[in-house]
Symmetry: C2
Subunit: 379 residues, 2 copies
């Protein structure tokens, strides 16, 4: 519980839901006849509607990015360190919009929602969604909120991919794209890790072909394994070493498989179990596929320079030295292509020991650079 809400917090916030009845044609070929998106806003939209910032979430993220839902909340939104009065995304300056993407499990239309065609939850019948689909659905949310052009679209990891896609799909509707700890597309190794996570879920007998809800089951073991393997890729080897090393859970080796020997095992199991109790298995599958499929240059003969030529936004890219999920080299691929396409681009590689997770953490150099870039944005 926040004993008191500090002056740099957006304070108590409440989500809203926007319903859309115009059909949305998806990349997979299927059409959502109608859908809804849950979102939060922080700050005030100015009269010209020129100060709006869109926050795009990553794999397991959601709309609740900043502030508290109640005084009983133990934790604020997932990016509270970067969104608020005086913070990098300064709510004294910007009107911030943060949504849960289509296919999510936090209130937007997704596998947990009722499928009007069957009267049951979609489950595995929910259509596969792509980063492009999300961007189109976000554009309609912008229309609904009276935002013709975002001052900035901002995201880390899979969120950064959405910011990049915005600059390609809607070049006139975005002035700045802030792309953090991201990549122009997944590598074979990235896809391989996602595939292990998916197979863990798909092979859990309680997944029931994706219709576990009807059986009152949850594929917790599969979700737990998926999260464990994901979590390893979010942390650097160094960060894991510094945090756990080879510390034992109970001072001595126990020579059995059921108890926990090392602290790192205990931590991973906890992370996996906690996640399996709050995240939907079908959403996890959808999100990993959206990651795998993201490849904007594919339509341009794998030429990322040509792909980005259409963009009109200015770009800010940031990466973290020990991030091995989306290493600095992946950000530099984007930077190089943007430079060759003659775009304005700022790039900062931040020394940080925390791996991919760094983008969520209040690392002073990162927060400072992020604030400096955002402060420059004319509204």
């Amino acid at each position: 519980m926040p004993t008191a809400i500090t002056a740099d917090s957006v304070g108590l916030v409440s989500p809203r839901v926007a319903h859309f009845t115009a059909p949305l044609k998806l990349a997979c070929g299927r059409t959502l006849t109608d859908y809804h998106l849950i979102y939060e806003t922080y700050g005030t939209l100015n009269a010209q509607a020129s100060n709006a910032v869109l926050i795009c979430h990553a794999l397991s993220g959601h709309h609740h990015a900043a502030g508290y839902h109640s005084m009983d909340d133990t934790k604020p939104g997932w990016w509270d360190s970067c969104i608020g009065p005086g913070k990098p995304i300064d709510t004294n300056q910007f009107f911030v919009v943060s949504l849960n993407n289509l296919g999510g499990c936090n209130g937007s239309l997704g596998p947990l929602s009722l499928n009007p065609a069957t009267g049951k939850a979609y489950g595995a019948d929910f259509p596969m969604v792509t980063v492009e689909d999300w961007v189109h659905s976000q554009a309609r949310l912008a229309d609904r909120l009276g935002i013709n052009q975002w001052a900035a679209v901002v995201g880390g990891s899979l969120g950064g991919m959405q910011a990049l896609q915005w600059s390609i799909s809607y070049p006139d509707r975005i002035r700045h794209a802030v792309v953090i700890a991201s990549a122009p597309r997944l590598s074979a190794q990235n896809i391989a890790f996602n595939e292990v996570a998916r197979q863990a879920i798909l092979s859990d007998p309680e997944f029931c072909g994706g219709h576990f809800q009807e059986q009152n089951l949850i594929p917790k073991r599969g979700l737990m394994l998926a999260r464990m393997v994901g979590h390893i890729t979010y942390l650097s080897d160094d960060a894991m070493g510094a945090k756990f090393g080879r510390d034992l859970k109970n001072d001595k080796l126990n020579y059995d498989f059921n108890s926990v020997a090392f602290q790192v095992e205990s931590y991973l199991r906890y992370q996996g179990e906690e996640f399996s109790g709050r995240f939907d298995a079908n959403t996890y599958l959808l999100m990993t596929k959206a990651l795998d499929y993201f490849d904007p240059a594919a339509a341009y003969n794998d030429d990322l320079v040509r792909t980005l030529e259409v963009a009109k936004a200015d770009f800010c890219l940031m990466s973290f030295t020990t991030d091995w999920r989306f290493s600095p080299a992946r950000s530099r691929e984007i930077v190089d292509a943007l430079l060759e396409a003659r775009k304005n681009v700022s790039y900062l590689e931040i020394e940080a020991s925390q791996g991919h997770d760094a983008f969520l953490l209040p690392i002073p150099r990162y927060v400072q650079a992020f604030r400096t870039y955002m402060n420059r944005i004319a509204v």
Copy 2:
């Protein structure tokens, strides 16, 4: 099938089994009252028994390291590229001994063997074994074969750990330790990956608490997942990228979860399925724990220099630039400690794109350096 056995092959070989009736006290506190080890030998032991080389296998290895069991074999032993006439471990020079470790599933006493106490397979009741236990059991095999001192003990990965342990446990019985792509102990990240693999097996309903044999079941899904996640760590990001990139299985994205989109997914599933049909789940658990627990410096207040002071062997260490499972930095930890302990040590870091798997491959620079070192060994 080998159409003809080439001159640099050890040719057709047959395993033998050695039975031991003296009890073996294990690090876990339990005692094996009797046990057997399956092994192969290549080359001829000289009159002084001074030319014997012990091969130690890695996680999923076994005794069949070189040659063929029959003319119908499609593949030779797992290290055939390095063992044979004129090869780095030259069987014109050396008498090579290669065994399956205790707890293995290829013919030595292990979880698949009959537990005399119950009349059923050991399964999960097989005691946990450590690298030290293996070295003690290998010393008894040496006694049996009339080998008082190994010219060299050689191994990659977990095999390298055994070579290192030999130099500590039996300093008078080993003249050279060849430690390839190895580490003085696992990092938190290494342990984390092993823990994911173990949880995948333990959570497979067909694991049945480790007594699946009695139910005529095999925890194939768990083994498959364990192998998939392991396999990612054996290959470098670059090697995966070069081999698969983002190549699609069927020319286009399929927007479903059950078919395979990318080649790398197909490859991983194949590797996992193939493995699950030939490896024992309890053995996999035991081998990963032996890896986790290996930490010879733990008994010396984490001082690797002091740990290695007792050693009398000369050392050869090799590592591979893109190996991120046991990176060159891990080998250098051993090299630095050996130098500080005033031991003779040769170290080579080999440029190779193949990641950890490189130690199994006929990479010219590696093969050449390996041969040069082994040629120097006086017999």
